[in-house]
C-alpha cells in the first residue's frame, strides 16, 4: 500500500498495463514529452519509447480511427482525449466504428480500445473544458463506460478497462486528479469492471452518483448525519452497464433515492437510473426518485459554475425532497 493522488494512480496503472502487455500503446495529443496536459502520462514515453507512447496530430477522429486500425491488427490502444469537450470530433469513429465493429464482423474483430477522457467541471476552466458527455456513450450499444472517483479504483479499473476486449470509455473527473488515497498495487483484488460500490452505508435514503460528485455525496452524508439522517452512498463506477443488483438492493432497503450528476438533467444518466430503479423497486419506494443535476444549459462561464454544479446543499435539498420534507422540489407541475 502506498499513498497516491488519483493522477499518480492513473500513471501507475498505465505503467503497469504497458509493462504487462507489449500490445498496449498510448495515443494522444501532448502525451509524450509533456506527459499530457494533466501529466497522467508523465515519464511514460521516456520509459517505453515513442511507439508505445505516441504523440498524435491534433485530430480526434484521426486518433480514434487510427486506433481502430491498430486494434484490427491486434494492438490494444489507450487513447487520451485531451478534454471532455474535444471528444465530439471523434464521435463518429467511436459510435459508428469502435462501438459496432465486433457486432458488424459477427465477432471476428475485437477492438479493445480504451478512451481516457478528463471530464467534468469545478476547476474554473474555459468553454469545452468542463463537459460531462457520459450519456451519449452510455446510450451507445457496444461501449462500456467507466467513471472513477478515487485513486484505488483509478488504478484498478484503468487496468481492467485496458485488459477488457470491449471498447471502454474511461472518465476521469479532473477536479479529483489531486485526491489522495491509499492504493494497493498488488492487483490481488477481484476485477471491478461493471460493478458499483457502496462507499458509505446508510438507512434513510440512497444517493447514487459517480466521478467527481462521490466526494460531494460523502460530504453531504456527513452533514446529514449531523441532522440525524443516515445516507447510503453508491459510487456507480460503471455507467454502462449499470450494476442494478447493487443499486436495487440498496434502494429496496432505504426506500428513497437521489441520483446526482454534473451533466444536464434531460435524457441524462439520472433519467435512466430513475426509470431503472422505479422498474425494479416500485413497491419499495416511499417517494419518487429525485434528480439533482446540472441544468439543461450549455456549460456556463466559470464564475457561474458553482450554481450549475450540484453541491452539498443542493444535494441535501434533493435528499429533503426524497424524505418528503420541505424543499425546492415542491409545487412542481
Amino acid at each position: 500500500m502506498s499513498t497516491m493522488t488519483m493522477s499518480g494512480a492513473l500513471n501507475a496503472g498505465l505503467r503497469a498495463a504497458l509493462t504487462a502487455d507489449p500490445k498496449v500503446v498510448l495515443m494522444g495529443e501532448d502525451i509524450g514529452a509533456l506527459g499530457g496536459v494533466y501529466r497522467i502520462t508523465d515519464g511514460l514515453q521516456r520509459e517505453f519509447g515513442p511507439r508505445r507512447v505516441m504523440d498524435t496530430p491534433l485530430a480526434e477522429s484521426g486518433i480514434l480511427g487510427t486506433a481502430v486500425g491498430l486494434a484490427y491488427r491486434g494492438y490494444r490502444p489507450v487513447c487520451e482525449i485531451q478534454f471532455d469537450g474535444f471528444v465530439y470530433p471523434a464521435f463518429d469513429q467511436i459510435v459508428s466504428q469502435v462501438a459496432r465493429m465486433h457486432a458488424r464482423t459477427n465477432g471476428a474483430v475485437r477492438l479493445p480500445i480504451t478512451i481516457r477522457i478528463p471530464v467534468g467541471g469545478g476547476i474554473g476552466s474555459a468553454e469545452h473544458h468542463s463537459d460531462s458527455p457520459e450519456a451519449y456513450f452510455a446510450h451507445t450499444p457496444g461501449l462500456r463506460v467507466v467513471s472513477v472517483a478515487d485513486p484505488q479504483d483509478a488504478y484498478d479499473l484503468l487496468q481492467d478497462a485496458i485488459a477488457c476486449d470491449d471498447p471502454v470509455l474511461f472518465f476521469e473527473p479532473k477536479r479529483r486528479y489531486h485526491l489522495k488515497g491509499e492504493v494497493d498495487t498488488g492487483r490481488s483484488r477481484p476485477a471491478a469492471l461493471g460493478t458499483a460500490r457502496v462507499v458509505r452505508k446508510g438507512s434513510d435514503a440512497t444517493v447514487v452518483t459517480f466521478g467527481g460528485l462521490v466526494q460531494v455525496a460523502l460530504a453531504a452524508a456527513d452533514a446529514a448525519a449531523d441532522e440525524g439522517v443516515s445516507l447510503e452512498v453508491i459510487d456507480l463506477r460503471s455507467l454502462a452497464p449499470i450494476d442494478w443488483v447493487t443499486v436495487a438492493a440498496s434502494v429496496r432497503r432505504t426506500g428513497r433515492v437521489v441520483v446526482t450528476h454534473e451533466a444536464p438533467e434531460s435524457a441524462g444518466l439520472g433519467a435512466e437510473l430513475a426509470a431503472g430503479i422505479t422498474e425494479r423497486c416500485f413497491s419499495y419506494l416511499e417517494h419518487a426518485p429525485v434528480r439533482v443535476t446540472g441544468f439543461d444549459i450549455p456549460y456556463p462561464p466559470s464564475k457561474l459554475e458553482k450554481h450549475h454544479l450540484p453541491d452539498l446543499d443542493r444535494l441535501l435539498d434533493g435528499v429533503d425532497a426524497a424524505l418528503g420534507r420541505p424543499s425546492s422540489y415542491e409545487d412542481e407541475a
Binding site: 500503446v25 511507439r51 498524435t56 496530430p57 485530430a59 477522429s61 484521426g62 480514434l64 480511427g65 487510427t66 486506433a67 481502430v68 486500425g69 491498430l70 486494434a71 484490427y72 491488427r73 491486434g74 494492438y75 470530433p89 463518429d92 469513429q93 459508428s96 466504428q97 465486433h102 457486432a103 458488424r104 464482423t105 459477427n106 465477432g107 471476428a108 474483430v109 475485437r110 450499444p141 457496444g142 462500456r144 477488457c164 476486449d165 470491449d166 461493471g194 454502462a240 452497464p241 449499470i242 442494478w244
Partner: protein
C-alpha cells in the same frame, strides 16, 4: 408564368476530362500496349497469360455485378451498389496485393473482394439483410465494407502502423471514392500516414459521381494533386486501364514495403451505373457523358488488346463467359437459399463477454416470442 430553364450541365467527355490529362496509361483505348518510362517496369512480367487472367476476373466481376443487380430487381436483395465501369480500377489494384496485405474498402469494392478470395456466396448476405458481415476479415485480408464515407482511410492507416510496429513488410490499402476526399477523415488519414510514414496506399477511385454530385463539386483541383500538400507522393492513372492500375499500385506497394511511407493513387474511372439500385442517374447525368465513357470501357479495351494478339479466341471468350455464368449461378443459388436469420441473433456479438443489460433484454424477448407459440 414562365420559368427560367436551367442550362444543361456541361457535359465532360473523357477527351476533355481534366482528371485524365497526364494520367498514366499503358493500354490505349484501342488496346495497344505502350511502355511507360516510370511504371512500365512494374508490369514487364505481365504477359498474355496474366492479362487473360485479369480479363477473366473483370468479366466475372461484371457478371457478379449484373446478377446482383438482377437479384435486387427481383426482390431478392434489398440493395446493391453496382461497380459497372470500375472493373479495371478494382481488379488491377487488388491483383497487386499480397495475401498478407490488408484492404479497407467502401461498399462498392465487390471486385476487390472477389480478388481477395471472398466467395460470391459471401458477397450477398449483407445486401439481403440477413447478417452484418459476409466474411471473416482475417481470412481474406479485407475488412467488412465501410458505409461511413472515408472512415476506413483511418482504419487502413492504423492497421499500416501496426504492420510497421510488427516489422512486417506487408501493406494496407484504403479504397475510397472522389466524394470521400471531402470528408475530414480522409485528410486526417493523410496527416497521420505522412507523420508516421505508415505503409499504406490511398487508392481513390474517381468515378466522377458521388450519388448526384459531380467531382467538380468536391474539388476545384485534381484529387491526386491534393496529396502533395500532405507530403504524400501521388499519381493519376487511367482507371480503365487494368495494366496501368496494376503498375502504379505495385509501385506504391513497393514503396510501402521498403519503408517509404504512404502513397496516393487517383484512378480516373467512371461509374456507368447508378450509385445504388435505389438511385436514378437519369435525373442528374447527361446521357452523352455516359456514352463517351462507354467508349472507354475497361473490358473492351483489354479484349481488343488480347484479340489483336490472337490469344482471346472465340473459344477462350466462351470459356470466360461460361466461368462468369457459373459464378453468377453459384451466387444466385446461395442468395435465394439463405435462411431467415434467427431473431435471437440480434443479441449476439454486441459485446465480447456476457453483458447483463443485453442478457435481460434477450431473455425478455425470448419469453415474448414464446408467448406466440400457439399462433406459430
Amino acid at each position: 408564368m414562365s420559368h427560367a430553364v436551367a442550362a444543361p450541365r456541361a457535359s465532360r467527355t473523357p477527351d476533355s476530362d481534366p482528371a485524365l490529362r497526364g494520367a498514366i496509361r499503358i493500354l490505349t483505348p484501342a488496346g495497344e500496349r505502350r511502355d511507360d518510362p516510370e511504371y512500365g517496369s512494374h508490369v514487364a512480367d505481365v504477359g498474355d497469360d496474366e492479362l487473360l487472367a485479369l480479363y477473366d476476373d473483370m468479366v466475372v466481376v461484371r457478371r457478379i455485378d449484373a446478377e446482383a443487380t438482377n437479384l435486387q430487381r427481383q426482390g431478392e436483395l434489398a440493395l446493391w451498389p453496382p461497380l459497372l465501369g470500375q472493373e479495371a480500377a478494382q481488379i488491377g489494384s487488388a491483383r497487386a496485393l499480397r495475401s498478407d496485405d490488408f484492404a479497407f474498402t467502401s461498399y462498392r469494392e465487390n471486385g476487390v473482394a472477389y480478388c481477395r478470395g471472398v466467395t460470391p456466396a459471401e458477397l450477398v448476405p449483407v445486401w439481403r439483410g440477413v447478417t452484418a458481415s459476409g466474411w471473416d476479415p482475417y481470412r481474406v485480408g479485407m475488412a467488412t465494407p465501410q458505409v461511413i464515407i472515408a472512415a476506413q482511410t483511418l482504419h487502413a492507416t492504423g492497421y499500416a502502423l501496426g504492420l510497421q510496429y510488427d516489422g512486417s513488410d506487408a501493406a494496407a490499402i484504403a479504397y475510397f471514392g472522389d466524394g470521400a476526399t471531402s470528408e475530414g477523415d480522409a485528410s486526417e488519414a493523410l496527416v497521420f500516414a505522412a507523420s508516421y510514414k505508415a505503409p499504406v496506399v490511398f487508392f481513390c477511385q474517381n468515378n466522377h459521381w458521388a450519388i448526384s454530385e459531380p467531382v467538380s463539386l468536391q474539388s476545384g483541383s485534381s484529387l491526386a494533386g491534393r496529396a502533395a500538400g500532405f507530403g504524400v507522393p501521388s499519381v493519376t492513372v487511367d482507371g480503365n486501364d487494368v495494366l496501368a492500375v496494376l503498375a502504379v499500385t505495385r509501385a506504391a506497394l513497393a514503396r510501402a514495403r521498403a519503408g517509404g511511407g504512404p502513397s496516393f493513387i487517383e484512378a480516373v474511372t467512371y461509374r456507368m451505373g447508378p450509385h445504388t439500385t435505389a438511385d436514378d442517374p437519369t435525373r442528374y447525368r447527361d446521357p452523352e457523358e455516359l456514352e463517351a465513357w462507354r467508349r472507354l470501357d475497361p473490358i473492351d479495351r483489354l479484349a481488343a488488346h488480347l484479340s489483336a494478339r490472337g490469344v482471346l479466341t472465340d473459344e477462350r471468350r466462351a470459356a470466360v463467359t461460361a466461368h462468369a455464368a457459373e459464378v453468377a449461378h453459384e451466387m444466385r443459388a446461395a442468395c435465394t437459399g439463405l435462411p431467415e436469420p434467427d431473431p435471437m441473433s440480434l443479441f449476439e456479438h454486441v459485446y465480447t463477454t456476457p453483458h447483463p443489460g443485453i442478457e435481460r433484454q434477450k431473455a425478455r424477448y425470448a419469453r415474448y416470442l414464446d408467448s406466440f407459440e400457439d399462433a406459430r
